[in-house]
Structures are given as C-alpha cells and as structure tokens.
C-alpha cells in the first residue's frame, strides 16, 4: 500500500513537473522549479523500484547540485529582465511560440509512434517474473563499482574533474587573466 501511494505521488510529481517544464512560458525560474518537482518524483520512483541508493543520489545530485546550478545560470543570464541588448536583440529569454510548439508536437507524435511500436513489442514478449523483496543495494553497488565497472568508475571520475575544470575555465569572465 505504501508502494502504491508513493508511486502515485511520484507519478503525479513527474507528470506535473514535466508538463510544467514544457508549458510554463513566462518565467524560466518557474520552469526550473517544475523540473525540481519532476526530479523529486523520479527519486520517489526510484524508491518504489527498490533503488534506495539511487534515490538518495538523485536527491543529492539534482536537488543539491544541478537545480541550484540551473537557478544560478538563470540569475547570471539576466533572469526575467526585459530590455534590449547591444545587438538590438530582445533580451527576454525566448520561451518559444505557437509555431515551435506545433513543430514540437509533430516531432513528439512521430517519436511517440516509434516508441509505442517498440513498447508494444516489449509488452508482447515480456513474461512476468516473481519480484524479489526489497533489499539494500548499497553493498552490491559498491562491490560492482570497484570490480566489474571499475574502469567506467575511474573514467567517470576523470570526466567529472574535467567538467569541473572546464566549467571553471569556460565561465571565467572575459578579460580576466587569472
């Protein structure tokens, strides 16, 4: 019962958040909060799926890191301020218009057709198995990370370091030499 309630809550958060990301047009800040909602929902879905470590990671990485980073980026790129920049372009962060939404709708339709076709195949082939009880995945994940997937683990650490340095270098203000 807990599971079902939690899943329903998560699904509602995901759906509402995703739609918010797509349709909130006035303020990118609100879209960010909508994304936060959706990501929270994904964390809940992870919990329902028994991925306890992933759920906590989702919280730490997205809520604590990515979303705040997004919010920072929004602030640093002018937020919702409305005026013209030096090139005469409107500085309002363009959020799209009817034309783009129609194009997006067509594309989404196309890809939905494809995915639904694939999912139909999957549903045909799927045989239900007995679900295991919930158990802690932390130890197993740790063991897997440093045995089977150790190369990917190390490479990802280098990737993160590169991203850190790269982001710091790229976002440096123009003209600063330090």
């Amino acid at each position: 019962m807990f599971d079902s309630v939690l899943f329903l809550l998560s699904a509602i958060l995901i759906v509402v958040g995703s739609l918010g990301v797509l349709f909130i047009k006035e303020n990118i800040m609100h879209a960010c909060v909508a994304l936060l909602t959706a990501l929270f929902g994904v964390a809940g879905a992870y919990a329902v799926l028994g991925a306890d470590f992933l759920a906590a990671t989702q919280l730490v990485v997205y809520v604590g890191g990515v979303v705040i980073l997004m919010l920072f980026a929004v602030m640093l790129t002018g937020g919702g301020a409305a005026n013209e920049n030096k090139f005469g372009i409107e500085k309002i962060p363009a959020m799209g218009n009817v034309k783009t939404y129609i194009i997006a709708g067509v594309n989404v339709l196309v890809i939905s057709l494809v995915v639904i076709k694939i999912m139909a195949n999957v549903m045909q082939d799927y045989k239900a198995v007995a679900l295991p009880a919930y158990e802690s995945t932390v130890e197993k994940l740790g063991t897997l990370l440093v045995t089977d997937h150790v190369l990917a683990f190390e490479v990802s650490s280098i990737l993160l370091l590169g991203a850190l340095v790269g982001a710091a270098v790229i976002a440096r203000p123009i003209g600063s030499t330090k």
């Binding site: 800040m29 936060l36 906590a56 990671t57 989702q58 730490v60 809520v63 705040i68 937020g79 919930y134």
Partner: protein, 395 residues
C-alpha cells in the same frame, strides 16, 4: 528496509495483540494500516517536539547571548521568560502576511515551504534512540544530505522571488555557500562511513560505544580533524555565525528573508533552528556515540529484574537522554560561537572552504581509509591496549 520504530514496537506482546485484535475486527491483515497510523502519530510527535525545540532555540539564543553580554535576556513571560517563544509565536501568527506586489507570488509562497520540507524531511532519519528512529534507512546519512539540500533551494528561491536586491544577494550567497560547504561536510561524513562500513545510523552508532574512548572522534587523529571540518562546514551550511553572510544584518538588512513577515518568516527561522539541531544531532551520532549509554545501560538488560517492557523503556529513555545531552551541548556551542566570533567576508568564506577545508577533508578521507586498511579498523586505544598485551602474545 525499514528498521526503526515499527520493528522496535513489534517486539512487544502488546503491539502484536493489538494488531491481531484490529485484524480480527476488520477481517483483513491490518499490519500495514496500523503501522501507517503509528508512523503518523510518531511523525506528528516528532514535528511537534521539534517545533518546540526550534522555538526553544530562539529562547536559548537570546538567553545565552544575554549571558555572554552580561544582560538579563527575556524574563517577563513565564518563569525565566520561558514562555517568550509562545508570545513570539502568537505575534507571528497574528501579524499581517505581506506579499510584495512586485514579488513572484507562487515562488514567494513556496520558498519557506521548501525550507521546512527539507528540514523536517531530514528528521526522518535522525536517531533519537535505538528504538525511536522514524526510519533507519540503509542510506540514512546520504538521504539526510540530499533532503537537507532542499533548504538551499528554498533560500535561493526566497531570495529571488522577493524581488529585492538585499534578498537577491542573500539568496545567492546562501545557495553558493551551501553547495560549497556541502563538499567538506560530505567528505568528512564519508570518512566516518568508511570506518563504520555502512550509511545507516544504526551501523554508524553501532560501531561506537558509551565511553568517550569508544567514540569515533577519538578513534584516530584524522577523525578528530574530521569532526572539526564537519562542524565548521555544518555551521556554514546552516548559515550560522560566523558564516551568516546570507542574512548579514549589517550588510543585507536581513538577507533572503528581508521581505517576509508573519508565519512565512517564522518558517524560515524555525527551519534554521531545527536544522542546527539536526546537524548537531548528526554530529553527536557520527562522532560522539549518538544514543549510546555507558555500561550498555541503554539495552535495558541491566534492569532485567523489572518486566522487560519497563526495562526496555527505561533503556530507551536513558538513550534519549544521552542523545539529547550531547546534541544540546553542541547546540550550546553553536550559539556560543555565534555570539563570540565576528563574521567572515565572502572571499574569506570561499577561501576557507576551497583552499583549506576541502583539501583537509580529502586528506582525512584518504588517511582514514589507510588507517582502516593498515590497522584493521582498530582505534588508537585498542592499539594501545594491544601493545600492552602484545608481550603476552595477544592478537
């Protein structure tokens, strides 16, 4: 998955009998329903107690600052001014709820909620005693870190949505400070996780004992350093002095909650005080043995003369006392620091985090891992005693 209150309660016959009775009455298995209601009750209790503690925090802050400044402090409402917080609360509730016209209204409303949600969400894993923990998640500390970072988002959005430059600056400062200091704090916590071999608070506290020499803070020199890194970082994460830059009243009026009034402001204040309590509790659990009581009195086996239910509950109460004593002592230290040290500049704040605490914490993590590998996880005192008995062929 859910070790905690239910598993503790289900040891007792009374619980089983009650479940059986309700199941018979309803005709279906009512275990989970009853668990749900027990949880509900426990959560409400915790929220209530914590809100009280948060309120008492404001009182303690005033009283201690008055002590430090040789003043009287609140002394009119109730004995020793204890009811001052109630008076404040009433004032807050009755105040007009002002939303600035230029504010981003939905987010302005949402910001204090996010703070409160983050803090109360983290209470779910705070180990008050071996039995009274709402949920002993196996990723407990990790979960606590994740959920409490909602506070940062709340502060940021509060600062942004107020549409005021003071609030904006405060919010930006708060968010950057919180995500920066999360790194040394997390690294210090991971160091303890490496030592104990688990992330749930049960494992973390179970590796320690009732006496100081069995605590992780005295486990080896690096954990000793790790505690101070954690504590400094935690002060910065909760925006406490000397890191209270987001709400620096001399620079930013009142920071991110400048524009807030009434209960919304109270939420922010309450969130801050409860978060201080939470980080102090985590510090107590990680470094000071948590709810462990000396001589294993906490298990209640020492009182086996009494009926088990009473014995166990006496043990639980001793554990609660142990935990709260440690936590509140740390709480006192936090307040003491606030009224003693001057505030840092922003660049000093960032320098402290990135140039000192983070490298120290990294070094600590590596050295603790080395220690755990080299000495097989033994603490310094165990090594000393092993050396003492080494001549007789111990080990």
């Amino acid at each position: 998955m859910n070790e905690g209150l239910i598993s503790f309660l289900s040891q007792f016959d009374g619980h089983k009998a009650f479940v059986k009775m309700i199941s018979d009455f309803a005709g279906t298995d009512a275990t989970s329903t009853i668990s749900f209601f027990i949880y509900l009750a426990a959560c409400l209790a915790v929220v209530g107690v914590m809100a009280t503690i948060g309120g008492l925090g404001t009182y303690a802050e005033r009283k201690i600052s008055a002590d430090l400044q040789a003043r009287q402090g609140p002394n009119r409402v109730g004995p020793f001014g204890l009811l001052q917080m109630l008076a404040d609360g009433v004032k807050m509730i009755l105040k007009e709820d002002i939303i600035p016209s230029a504010a981003d209204k939905p987010m302005f409303i949402m910001a204090p909620m996010l703070c409160i949600v983050g803090v109360f969400g983290s209470l779910a894993v705070v180990p008050f005693s071996s039995g009274f923990i709402l949920s002993d998640l196996n990723v407990g500390v990790f979960y606590l870190l994740g959920i409490s970072s909602l506070v940062g988002v709340g502060i940021f959005i509060g600062g942004y949505s107020s549409n005021s430059k003071w609030s904006m600056l405060g919010g930006m400062r708060g968010a950057s400070q919180i995500i920066s200091y999360e790194i040394p704090v997390t690294l210090s916590i991971i160091a303890i996780v490496v030592l104990s071999g688990g992330m749930s608070f049960g494992t973390l506290i179970g590796g320690q004992g009732g006496f100081p020499h069995e605590w992780y803070i005295l486990h080896n020199p690096f954990t000793f350093i790790a505690f101070f890194v954690y504590f400094i970082g935690a002060l910065a994460e909760t925006n406490r002095a000397p890191f209270d830059l987001p709400e620096a009243e001399s620079e930013l009026v009142s920071g991110y909650h400048t524009e807030y009034t009434g209960m919304r402001f109270a939420f922010f204040a309450l969130a801050e005080y409860i978060e201080v309590f939470v980080v102090c509790g985590v510090a107590a659990a990680l470094f000071f043995g948590g709810w462990k009581v000396p001589f294993d009195l906490g298990t209640g086996e020492a009182f086996s003369a009494l009926p088990p239910i009473i014995a166990k509950n006496i043990g639980q109460i001793l554990q609660l006392g142990s935990f709260f004593t440690k936590t509140l002592l740390l709480y006192y230290v936090v307040i003491w620091i606030r009224w003693t040290l001057p505030r840092l500049r922003v660049d000093q704040l960032m320098t402290l985090c990135w140039k000192y605490l983070t490298p120290i914490a990294l070094f600590n993590l590596i050295m603790i891992a080395v220690w755990a590998y080299a000495f097989d996880g033994k603490s310094m005192f165990e090594l000393f005693t092993a050396m003492g008995s080494g001549s007789t062929g111990g080990h």
